[in-house]
């Protein structure tokens, strides 16, 4: 038996800073400890501020999920005030949010995840030349195309939301800019351009033919675009058997439009979906450098342990649902919402499944955005002025690209008395809890191959990046 320890970091092509400690036994990961090494303290900053300031400050938690943070804050404030956005305001907010999520997914695939397959370590594989041409970091054809397509997609954010990231356009009462007929037509034109990019690169054909795929066999038969290249690589490297998650999936439900959520909320486990109850969440602090008691986020606190004492090993708290871990993200969302292919991959819970979940969601989000843009009614009201909140509590639950994001707000005397945030990667990259149960990534890394020559094992990199972590959101 051979044993060694590896410290992996700085871990790049993830958003923010990440460090992973690996115990390797006989060429496999035996245990992983995931550390979010940056603490900023947004929840502390918000104490005592005017509740509306959360709309300016919380988007700045994260430059890649900025609109998600903004949407969660707006919903929390609206919830506290007992108000709702007018229907068209919610639609415009969903367009801004959908644009960000869509951009994040293609950024992840093209700039964060796929470049690893262009590494010299894979030279000689039948697909390697193609991966090098398409996905070489900074230089591959996909990097350029994606940067350009993404920039153009964000023209919608410029038009409707002033800028991206860090827009203040989404408010509890709706959106600050009322789209007129020419803006609506311009948004639709931009979306048609983005569809062309997706169909020419990622899917290699019209995305309506990818959406109905319902079984792993049908998926395996997919033979066009970068999606096919990924599937070929996944087959060759066994990515359908690596990075197995908890196979318990959570979604808060995405995009509140027309009085419902465009993608359903729920918890999937063992083949069935049960309702999601926010009251079942507890943040466990046992292995975080945090002081205080485990708590539901409505009553939780953020008090960092300045001495960074053991057994803490991360600034990340460990959220648990009904005492257990859950995986969040595009795959979870599509499983909970009931997409047949996602459901068929739920038990697989692998690197491949996560990437396919994202591909499905790219196609679905593009179609949703087209429908929403079409449904914009320039004659409608997009904003109703909202009340200033003096006292009360509110919850804002949304789905960011990377999964479930919640803001829990408490207002007393017109000031923020409590503000707790649980971000998607807080769920996925949480440390161990009081019972010693590892977080979803920690568990998924066990069994990953670590060759004797490897100091930053490639299999570990694929697994970590398959979650598309956002570390700046994680601890905030």
């Amino acid at each position: 038996m051979t044993e060694r320890q590896l410290l992996v970091g700085p871990f790049n092509r993830v958003e923010g800073d990440l460090e992973i400690k690996l115990d390797i036994r006989d060429g496999q990961v035996a245990a992983a400890h995931v550390n979010s090494p940056l603490f900023r303290g947004f929840e502390m900053m918000l104490q005592g501020k005017d509740p509306r300031d959360a709309l300016t400050l919380t988007p700045r938690i994260c430059g890649i999920c900025s609109v998600s943070q903004s949407a969660a804050a707006a919903l929390a404030l609206a919830d506290a005030a007992g108000t709702q956005m007018p229907e068209q305001g919610a639609l415009a907010a969903a367009i801004l949010h959908g644009v960000e999520n869509l951009a994040d997914h293609v950024t992840h695939f093209n700039l964060f995840f796929m470049p690893d397959f262009a590494r010299p370590a894979y030279a000689g594989r039948a697909w390697h030349d193609q991966a090098v041409a398409r996905f070489t970091a900074l230089d591959g054809s996909a990097a350029r195309q994606t940067a350009e397509a993404r920039s153009q997609l964000f023209h919608i954010a410029g038009l409707l939301g002033g800028k991206w990231p860090h827009t203040l356009a989404i408010q509890p009462g709706g959106v600050t800019r009322t789209p007129d007929a020419r803006m609506r037509i311009r948004i639709r034109a931009t979306l048609r351009g983005f569809r062309r990019y997706l169909e020419e690169t990622l899917f290699g054909t019209e995305l309506e033919s990818f959406l109905p795929l319902a079984t792993p066999d049908a998926l395996e038969a997919w033979d066009t675009g970068d999606a096919a290249l990924f599937l070929r690589i996944a087959r060759d490297l066994g990515l359908h058997q690596s990075g197995i998650g908890p196979r318990r999936y959570l979604s808060y439900g995405a995009y509140p439009v027309a009085g419902t959520r465009a993608m359903a909320a729920g918890v999937w486990e063992g083949g069935s979906v049960t309702p999601f109850n926010p009251a079942d969440i507890v943040e466990d602090l046992s292995h975080a450098w945090m002081l205080g008691e485990d708590a539901h986020p409505q009553s939780g606190q953020t008090v960092p342990d300045e001495d960074m004492r053991d057994p803490g090993y991360s600034w990340c708290k460990a959220p648990r649902l009904g005492g257990r871990i859950a995986e969040v993200g595009a795959l979870a969302r599509q499983i909970v919402d009931g997409h047949p292919l996602a459901r068929a991959l739920a038990d697989e819970g692998s690197v491949r499944a996560r990437i396919v979940g994202r591909l499905l969601e790219i196609a679905r989000t593009q179609v949703l955005l087209e429908q929403w843009a079409d449904a914009l009614d320039p004659s409608a009201r997009f904003m109703t002025p909202s009340e200033t909140i003096k006292t009360g509590t509110g919850v804002g639950l949304v789905e960011a690209a990377r999964g479930s994001l919640g803001h829990w707000l408490r207002v007393e005397g017109g000031r923020i008395a409590g503000y707790q945030i649980i971000a998607p990667t807080t769920w996925n990259f949480s440390p161990r809890d009081r019972d010693g149960n590892p977080g979803p990534l920690e568990a998924a890394l066990v069994g990953a191959v670590a060759g004797p020559e490897e100091d930053t094992p490639l299999s570990v990199q694929h697994i970590v990046r398959s979650f598309d972590p956002c570390m700046v959101c994680t601890v905030h």
Binding site: M45, K49, F154, H155, A157, E306
Partner: protein, 330 residues
């Protein structure tokens, strides 16, 4: 020309914004200018041990460092240790890395207001002890001494903004690569003058409302946001309305106020961001280079002269009265 980019305590939004660069895309822009990206945390291939080896070779002087870009503030807490941000895998605080690497670089660039002055990471009592590279808020001296000069002799170049416009970053880099950016091209707060010599007010589409002090009272109304909604575009440095964001946007075009995000301490305005503090109904913050009495006199005159069209549109979320309707009427 070698560029190293490190992300410290920030949101990563300046990188995400940089990826929105157009004409051409960011990768071609840098490559065509002869800028070789040694490492960038979002887009480079190297991870883990590969990065640590690269950093060692830069630190030892084996690889020359021309452009050191730091994004995010530098946290000094807890208790001055900087351990609120250890650069993963290295066992060393980012504070230490920045202090070691900055003197080796030809030029040091603080990308974003966090890296420049502390920014949002230093809001609300500054729990992590965040400072900028060369400033702590408005005070000179941050993670680096106030007298710090890079090898070029230039101070830290503060590409302030929250986030930064992609062009502010790429054009600064391109000017440096072309050796066309001198200390004199920076304003007193270290910001490149090519964007900081403009005010957000310039070319703001709400200027006609401003001229008549026809003010929006609620967000989404078309009127000027200075009087009630916290807009400080008349004082904020930036060419946001001259050079739009993401195609055609800006904060004021999006219908929400400019919060002066290129300035030190913008994160603590001492009033809600979207509310203008007033004394006896008069906004506290007025254009800084105009005598207050003059401003007030002109404002009351122009308010009295406000055409119906402008008055009506100022309080609407869309143009109710087009120009030319009811000519000559008051």
């Amino acid at each position: 020309m070698n560029l190293l980019w490190l992300q410290s305590a920030g949101c990563g939004g300046c990188t995400m914004s940089l990826l929105c660069a157009e004409d051409p895309n960011v990768f071609d822009l840098l490559k065509d200018a002869g800028i070789n990206v040694l490492w960038h945390p979002s887009v480079s291939i190297e991870t883990g041990a590969e990065v640590r080896r690269l950093l060692e070779r830069i630190e030892s002087g084996e690889i020359p460092l021309d452009l050191l870009c730091i994004e995010g503030s530098i946290v000094t807490g807890p208790k001055g240790t900087g351990r609120y941000h250890m650069l993963a895998g290295t066992g060393r605080p980012m504070l230490d890395w920045v202090r070691k690497l900055a003197p080796l670089a030809r030029d040091v660039l603080a990308v974003g207001t966090c890296a420049a002055y502390g920014g949002v990471t230093s809001a609300g009592g500054n729990p992590a002890g965040a400072v900028g590279l060369a400033y702590d808020g408005k005070l000179a001296g941050g993670a680096l001494d106030s007298g710090f000069r890079a090898k070029s002799g230039r101070p830290v170049i503060n590409i302030a903004g929250c986030p930064t416009h992609p062009d502010w970053v790429t054009e600064t880099l391109l000017l440096l690569a072309d050796d066309r950016l001198e200390t004199a091209d920076l304003d007193p707060l270290g910001r490149p003058r090519f964007y900081a010599d403009h005010l957000v007010h310039h070319a703001c589409p709400k200027n006609e409302y401003y001229e008549y002090k026809a003010s929006a009272r609620e967000l989404s109304e078309l009127g000027c946001m200075m009087e009630h909604l916290g807009c400080v575009g008349t004082q904020a440095h930036g060419d946001c309305n001259i050079r739009p964001w993401n195609g055609s946007g800006s904060c004021t075009r999006g219908g929400y106020p400019c919060i002066n995000c290129t300035a030190p301490e913008f994160e603590e305005p001492r009033h809600p961001f979207t509310e203008t503090p007033t004394i006896a109904g008069i906004p506290v913050g007025l254009p800084s280079d105009m005598p207050k009495a003059w401003f007030m006199a002109l404002a009351s005159l122009s308010k009295a002269a406000t055409p119906k069209r402008i008055e009506a549109n100022a309080h609407s979320d869309r143009i109710e009265v087009p120009p030319g309707a009811g000519k000559g009427q008051k």
